[in-house]
Every structure is written in C-alpha cells, then in structure tokens.
C-alpha cells in the first residue's frame, strides 16, 4: 500500500558518518528492506521509527554486519563496511544494544562492560600468563573505563552483581554501557526504552543527550513517537521495508504518509478526512 517515493535527502551541514546506499535485503519471499538509503552525520541523533515489522531492527542488523544486504552497501566513516566480519565492524566503531536484552548473564555487570572495553585491547594469553606490564595497563584501563561507564548510565552500585540478576531497567542501561565501552563512533540503540514507565523513559532520553555530548553519534530506534521527537535531530521513517520519510521531527509528525503508516490506513483516506 505504501508507494515507494524517493525522499529528497535533507541538506546537511556536518560530514556523513554512516550511510546506507540503496540497501535491499530479502529473506526468501519477504523483502525486509527495499532500496533503503539514509545517512547520519557526525554528532547527530537520528531516530529510526516505523510500525512493527517495518525493518528497523533489520537495518541495524545490516549496519552491524549480522546480515549482508542482497544489494546495496553500507559506508561507515568513509569506507565500505558491507561484508566485513561483525567483530571488525565493531572495532571500526559501531556498537549496538539489542531489542531483546542480550547480556552475558552469568558474568558480572563490570565484566560485561569490560568485554566491550576489550575490543580496544590487543594483549593475548601469553602476556596474561606472564603478567606483562602492557597487559596489566590494559586491564587497569579497561576496568577504569567500565566503572566510569557503569556510573554514567546509572548502574554504578551494581558492578559486582551478575548481569542476569539486575533489574530489567538496569539490564537495559548495562547494555548501553557495554556498547559504549567499545568506544564507538556510532551507537545504535534498538528500543532502549522498551518496557519503561514514562519517568524512566524521560531519564533515558536525558541519558541519550548526554551520550551525544560525549561526542558519539546516535542511531535510535523507538516506537514511542513523542519520546523520539523530544530528543532526535532528524527522523527516518520505515514502513514495509521502505523509507517513507526523512525529515525533521515536526515535519515527519505532519506527514500524511507517516500518519497513515502508523494508523494502518491508506494514505488517501487520511487525506480525504481533512
């Protein structure tokens, strides 16, 4: 029902950090992404919204290397990353959280975040065995960064708890800390506020702003449109794997195609209502 109309990409001032170029991804008969193109500028907070099954998570999965697009490509920081191994993409500077929390449950909160920090470390089993100074420096630095990030997201007092024992909200925040510990340039958050009450959501949006203030670029998937509108600089709307809008929050809120997509009615019906 939603027709494929190519959006004129809004003029941007900053330089582009990530861009999807005409990405199509098919799962057998299902076209999860259909010629999707969008980009994020450095330092931007970009909202990625759309109804259930629109392809938002799939877009994340393409960006982070879980799926290789059927056609099209992903450029990050000036280089093609399509087809790179997942851990290599992570090391290039893309980190993410998961819609369904995926922590290392039997490890402590601190260890979870340290795994993230280890992405920047290089010493191996031999240096660990011999306790080489370089290894000990990395270990200390990783711990320090991890503790700082736990504080930053508000799980500071729970460092030694098992991740699986944390409350639901703390687990979501811990995922953010773990992703940030990889010291990414781009942080992708997949519905980080899912299951939160309004005040928790507000606090989370505050946190996302603080993350941007640390110099990160944020790609945010969120269902709650009002929430997104308060924090993002720009919004990309997906529906049935197709981009139907790419504009400022206010513009998108008044876009008949977006309204139609969210209400599940044909676009012309919305228009005739007027």
């Amino acid at each position: 029902m939603a027709e494929t109309v190519q959006q004129p990409t809004p003029v941007t001032t900053g330089d582009t950090l990530l861009s999807l170029d005409d990405v199509t991804l098919k799962f057998g008969g299902v076209t999860a992404l259909n010629g999707v193109s969008f980009h994020i500028d450095r330092g931007e907070i970009l909202g990625l919204i759309g109804p259930n099954g629109a392809g938002k998570t799939t877009a994340f999965n393409v960006v982070t290397g879980i799926y290789r697009p059927t056609s099209g490509g992903v450029t990050f920081d000036g280089e093609q990353i399509t087809g790179l191994k997942r851990y290599r993409i992570a090391k290039r500077g893309i980190a993410r959280t998961f819609q369904n929390i995926r922590l290392f449950r039997a490890m402590t909160a601190l260890e979870n975040v340290m795994v993230g920090a280890d992405a920047r470390h290089t010493t191996g089993p031999i240096s660990a065995l011999l306790g080489l100074p370089r290894h000990r420096r990395e270990e200390a630095a990783g711990r320090e960064l991890a503790l700082e990030l736990l504080d930053f997201v508000g799980v500071g007092g729970r460092a030694d708890e098992l991740a699986g024992n944390l409350s639901y909200g703390d687990q979501r925040r811990l995922e953010i800390a773990r992703a940030m510990a990889t010291q990414p340039k781009l942080l992708c958050l997949d519905e980080p506020a899912a299951g939160f009450n309004p005040s928790e959501k507000q606090a989370l949006m505050e946190l996302i702003r603080k993350i941007r203030d640390r110099g990160l670029t944020v790609l945010l998937i969120e269902h709650d449109m009002r929430l997104v509108m308060g924090v993002v600089d720009r919004v990309v709307v997906l529906e049935f794997g197709t981009k139907i809008a790419d504009a400022s929050p206010t513009e998108v809120q008044n876009d008949p195609a977006v309204i139609a997509a969210y209400l599940g009615v044909a676009e012309d019906e919305v228009v005739t209502d007027e």
Partner: protein, 408 residues
C-alpha cells in the same frame, strides 16, 4: 574473587560447599594464600601419611592418588573448553591419547628419546591437533560440535588400533620414566596399631621414578596441576577469559562487541588440548605401556562427568569433580559389581538435586529465577499501544497539507 551475589537464605546441607566458598572469599588475601599453601603441602604428604578412611584398602594409595591427579589435570583442561568457552567436547580423550602416544612413539616405538625431551614435542603435537580439529569444527554450533568431537575421539582410537606403526592393539612399551634424582628416603606412616607410627621399613625415595613406587609420579603430577591452575587463573582473569565466557553466554552479542569468537574458541581448544596432552604424557610414563584400551569413549564420558559433577566453569569445581569421579570408585573397590551402578545413581541424584554441579561458578539459583522474570517482561512488551502517542498527530488534528509534508 568478587562474590557478592546473595545466596538464597535457606541453609541446606546441599549448600555446604557454597557456604564454605563464601567464607573463604571473605578471608583476607594473605590468609587465603597461606591456606592454599597448607592445602598444597597436605596434598604432597598425603601418600606418606596414608590416613585411615581416606587411604584405599586393597590398592596402592600412591597409585590411586596418581590416577586422581591425572583426572584432575584432565578436568581442569576440559573445564577450559566446556566450562569457560561452553564448547561441548565429547572427544577429549583423543588429545589425552595423542599426548600419550607421541611420548610412546618418541621414547619407545620409533626412537629412544628421554621422556623429558619427548614431553614438549608431545604438547606441541596435541596443541596442533587441537587446532586442526577446531579449525573446521568450531564453526558449527552446539549439538553438532558434540557429535563431531565424539567422532574425533573414536577416530583417534580406531587409528591406534589399526595402525601397525603405532603398535596396533598391542600398543607401545616400554615407555621410560622421567629422570630420577635420588636424594633421601622419606618414611611413611603406619596406622596398623591405631596410632600413627613412623615406619622406616616403608619409605619413598625423593625423588626416584620407578615402577614400584608411584608416589614420585604423583608429586610430579601435583606440581604440574599447581602450575596449570596458576596459569588457568591468570588467563581466566584476563580479556581471554572474559572473551571465552562472553562467547559461551551469547556468541552473537560477543561478536558484536568486538570479540573474534572463532579465534578465542580455537584458543580454548588448543589450550585444552595442551593440558590433555600433559595428562596423557604423565599417564604414559607412569604406566610404562599404552594401548588403545585406555582411550575409549567411556573415558571421555568420565572426563566430562568430572567437569559436570564439579560444576562447569569453576576450576575448583573441576578439581573436586575429578576427585569424586576418580577416587570414589577406587575407594570402594570392594564393591566391584556395584561400582558403576552406584556411580550412575550418584550422577542421577546430582542431576536432580544439584544440576549446576557441586561447586558451580557464580551463576546462582537467583540468576535463573530472574531470567524467567525478564523473559516474561519481554514477551509482554509488544508495544502495540505505543504508536503515535498522545502528543503526536491524531487523524483529526493531523491536517496534512502539502507544505507540512516532507514528501515530494
């Protein structure tokens, strides 16, 4: 050890070990260190003390302790693969066999190297075989890996049986002992009168490796266990150990956090094989002969049960599990026909009452309960009502005009 998870308040006898551990980790570091040294010393003198009840009637106590220590080595090595990295390896006996046979080939079958020289070669060979097995198989997951490794163990055994070059079913003999350095005699204790008496007619030579007295072999094995445990601790507490555990917990999430999981799994396989190779080499030299009989699937299962019984993922659990699996059957040798039955029953009871093993790692009952709760939350999370929330446009006030739209 940062053990801060609160345990369920119910104090049951089953939690004796857990309680002990909590008390241990509460002690200051120097006290822990002294305790460890004391335990190690006790282990060294144990075969000389021959304490009643613990000592094995009917079989040579020193020999039993040697067997137990080989199992401990194996369990600690296998724990790296199964416990830390979460790779179910049913063919670990293959590495044990490769270690033993490399020593056999180099010292007896095709050359006459001294044992000490053959040892490093054996370890390199087992490590390489670990990598060769892991390279193609570690890309498959879970159950498949178990089947492939099971096949590996059997292939190794069948190769040994069918290869004349490796002595076929006869095996290899005589495998030499490590170099001796006889310095002095140490007397044993004699408890036959009910009180411990120093028995100067029953002595062990420090340190002479011979066929008659297995105690020096036990001392050697114990020393290697201590070294392996120290190395295990260092590696486990580093980014390598974290990468293993992260891979075990969630391989995809680990990859996306920058962990090259395949490489770390391969490393776990190689290190595990290395330790299995040490155990195999020790076994070969103590035995003086080896044949394919000693490397059956049953042994692989026993190795694995040592890790599982103890609590996979915890090196001390693996040690305790190995002691249970290797020692108890020897202690109750008198009940020959009942041994396997009792062992099977014990495993079943354990599976029912303490599925995490005797001394599991920090994962607690509470963690599992939380898991269920979180899952429930996630299921109920379908945000169907979360679309265009109150502040967003409704069909009435949407008033979509062409100007307000970003669409061309």
């Amino acid at each position: 050890m940062s053990q801060t998870t609160s345990a369920p308040p119910r104090r049951s006898r089953r939690d004796l070990l857990g309680g002990l551990r909590r008390r241990l980790s509460g002690m200051p570091r120097w006290a822990q260190f002294l305790l460890m040294v004391a335990i190690a010393l006790l282990c060294y003198v144990l075969p000389l003390l021959e304490p009643p009840i613990i000592s094995t009637p009917g079989t040579d106590f020193g020999g039993v302790l040697f067997t137990v220590s080989v199992y401990v080595l194996v369990a600690v090595g296998l724990n790296i693969v199964v416990g830390y990295a979460g790779l179910l390896d049913l063919g670990y006996v293959g590495f044990y066999a490769i270690g033993a046979y490399t020593v056999g080939v180099l010292t007896a079958q095709h050359a006459t190297w001294p044992w000490l020289l053959s040892l490093p070669v054996a370890l390199v060979v087992t490590m390489v075989s670990g990598v060769l097995l892991g390279w193609p198989t570690l890309r498959v997951r879970g159950d498949y890996l178990a089947i492939v490794t099971l096949g590996f163990g059997e292939i190794v055994r069948l190769t040994l049986i069918n290869s004349e070059w490796l002595g076929a079913a006869r095996g290899i003999r005589p495998i030499p002992s490590p170099p001796s350095l006889p310095l002095f005699e140490v007397p044993h204790l004699d408890w036959s009168t009910g009180v411990p008496l120093v028995d100067f007619s029953d002595t062990t030579t420090f340190i002479e490796f011979g066929v008659t007295d297995p105690i020096p072999f036990y001392w050697l094995a114990l020393t290697l266990i201590i070294l392996v445990l120290l190395a295990d601790k260092r590696i486990k507490d580093s980014r390598v150990g974290r990468a293993w555990e992260a891979t075990r917990e969630d391989e995809d999430a680990a990859e996306l956090m920058g962990v090259p999981t395949f490489r770390f799994k391969l490393l776990a396989f190689a290190i595990g094989a290395f330790v299995g190779g040490i155990a195999g080499s020790l076994f070969a030299t103590r035995q003086t002969f080896i044949n394919p009989e000693s490397f059956t699937l049953l042994i692989s299962i026993l190795f694995l049960s040592a890790v599982v019984v103890g609590g996979q993922g915890n090196r001390w659990g693996a040690v305790i599990g190995a002691v249970v699996v290797a020692y108890l059957p020897e202690r109750f040798r008198g009940f020959e026909q009942w041994r396997v039955l009792v062992f099977g029953l014990a495993l079943m009871l354990l599976a029912i009452y303490r599925p995490q093993g005797l001394l599991p790692p920090r994962r607690t009952v509470r963690a599992q309960r939380m898991e269920a709760e979180t899952e429930a939350l996630e299921v109920g999370e379908e945000p169907e009502d979360a679309v265009i929330a109150a502040g967003g446009p409704t069909p009435d006030d949407a008033a979509p005009t062409d100007e307000g739209s970003s669409r061309g």
